[in-house]
Symmetry: C2
Subunit: 349 residues, 2 copies
């Protein structure tokens, strides 16, 4: 599980700042029509014509957001891009470009950064994104990644967090809770490894959960699917901090309440079994786990027939009057107020 | 000189991640017509209509790019924005929006971050920029700032680094070398302070140099001036790493050579006197110092009459055939090859 130490170690000091960024980005191609100029000038130049531009940015810190003892650098590069693209798709937009900035201490050899950029390149390829800029610099400690993602969208297709209406249906994509449990498993194996480095864990039963944590995907396919189904969500957000936190964002910004039905929350069977193993409640994990990067959106009831039966989409609740508040309707039919239990990097650190 | 410790200390953990960014950005107004949606959704939404979009990003690390022992946080906020805007102006574009992300360790109280954002707000006001996004998170050590600046420009006004032609004139704005000497003075006073904290230095004679280091300005006025003068530069870059390094970028990307005349380099009288005090060659400082954030551009000879006599603009050389290389023509008329001596954060650390 733990990444091999690289055999070859080229000091990044040897290349210098300009040489480094040139070296790391030399194989990236520009494919988008909207990219007029990528890396290599004072700024990149883009042309979105009549479309609107969407911009989102994220900062990821070693020891806070990721742990290199079980996160291979290539996966980290991939995931760093994906979590930013997820924000663009959550606007119902098409992600088109990213900038990637990296601060690393001198303990990272060039080969480590190449691994990271190989992951960035893989994500760019899978999602059809142009890398158009970035900065690579030294840090006094550890690794820090800053990514800005850019996308384009026709104005009439834009979806904010604020458009949900009373009686709208609440829909989630895929299944949730897996990424959090993947993290628990990796943390547990790290502790085992510390005690007995010879231990060879069998992680096969947990492969889905670990993949959800180490190599999440953003739901570009859902943006395409919604267009095909001719469904325009009334509000949308991506699930980065956990279902409860995201529901509260939708409710607050749309000025509505919500009933979320516990029995409807889509869970993978391995989420249920691992929850039992960790003696945790699977609903709590779904509500508070985070990092699933699924999309959560609301649609008018009239659109229900268009999404009915689609294996990617699950109706998990409906919006109510704001005065009713946001509640989880439990399996035993009791109503429990939803509180934000999302992940907070300031408490976590 | 050294910033007072804040009297009031509110732990940033108390607010949590969402509360923190909301608190820090609540007084920012959106003024640009191109900003449809700022902070508060998964992504900001912009509308540049028929104009092109320019994007630039920078990462600033405590202990590498700035030293909080003499850099007040408000100045740091201001400078962080300004250095990014400078890249947008270097495209001959109009800067319109920024995102500001911050990673800070728990040693920073809320009041410190408020100071930083007060500087960001001041820069946004002076330059007419909307703050449209960002991320605030904890770091395991120190402070790290990531800024992405966005601008708009009509396609025919865009200026790349690559358009300089043989015989074009090389023009620099303002004067250079001051920011580097300001840094030397601050570093010297820091050492004095370590030995004798009671010492009250008289920094008045150095106020211009210190201001160039602590509160640089980006040359938005030059973009406006060039439009007024009806001068379209053939190539342009901003001076962040030192004149020699920037000249080499223009030469390389435009495939030309350059003669730079030592006697023409604009130096402030305090740059000359402080250079003597530090027993450094003022030309070397201008060539290698960096952080002046002046603009360096080339124009066709036919445009010379339009800029002649303008106190903001100095012709310091001309472009030659690429095969002739890039040279400094010294006061004694000897030709010295220009080499990149720009600031490198990997060597500096």
């Amino acid at each position: 599980m733990l990444a091999d130490k690289n055999e070859q170690r080229t000091s990044i000091e040897e290349l210098g700042e300009f040489g480094l960024i040139k070296h790391l980005t030399k194989d990236f191609e520009l494919n988008h029509k909207s990219t007029l100029k990528g890396i290599g000038d004072d700024a990149a130049v883009l042309d979105f014509k009549s479309k609107k531009t969407v911009v989102s940015t994220d900062l990821l810190v070693e020891g806070v957001h990721f742990d290199l003892s079980y996160m291979p650098l290539k996966h980290l590069g991939y995931k760093s891009v994906v979590v930013n693209l997820s924000d663009i798709y959550a606007m119902n937009a098409n992600a088109t470009q990213i900038t990637v900035s990296l601060a690393v201490s001198n303990r990272f050899p060039l080969e480590a950064l190449e691994e990271f950029y190989a992951g960035v390149a893989a994500a760019c390829k899978v999602y059809g994104i142009d890398l158009i800029g970035g900065d690579t610099t030294s840090s006094t400690k550890g690794m820090l990644i800053s990514i800005t993602a850019i996308g384009e969208v026709d104005e009439e297709k834009l979806v904010y967090r604020s458009g949900a209406k009373e009686n709208d249906l609440l829909v989630v994509t895929g299944d949730i809770g897996g990424a959090y449990l993947g993290l628990q498993i990796l943390e547990r194996e790290k502790e085992v490894f510390k005690v007995n480095p010879q231990n060879q864990p069998d992680l096969e039963p947990y492969s889905y959960l670990i993949e959800r944590q180490l190599k999440p995907e953003a739901r570009k396919d859902i943006v395409d699917l919604l267009e095909k189904l001719e469904v325009q969500p009334t509000a949308m957000i991506d699930i980065s901090d956990g279902l409860s936190s995201e529901i509260l964002h939708l409710c607050e910004q749309s000025k509505v309440g919500c009933n979320l039905y516990e029995e409807k929350i889509p869970l993978d069977p391995t989420v249920i079994s691992a929850s039992e193993e960790f003696k945790m409640d699977s609903t709590m994990i779904a509500l508070s786990g985070g990092e699933d990067y699924e999309l959560l959106f609301t649609i008018a009831q009239a659109d229900f027939d268009k999404i009915k039966g689609n294996p990617n989409l699950t109706v998990i609740g409906h919006m109510t009057q704001q005065s009713e508040g946001a509640h989880l309707v439990a399996r035993n039919n009791t109503k429990i107020p939803i509180t934000a239990q999302g992940w907070n990097s300031f408490n976590a650190s």
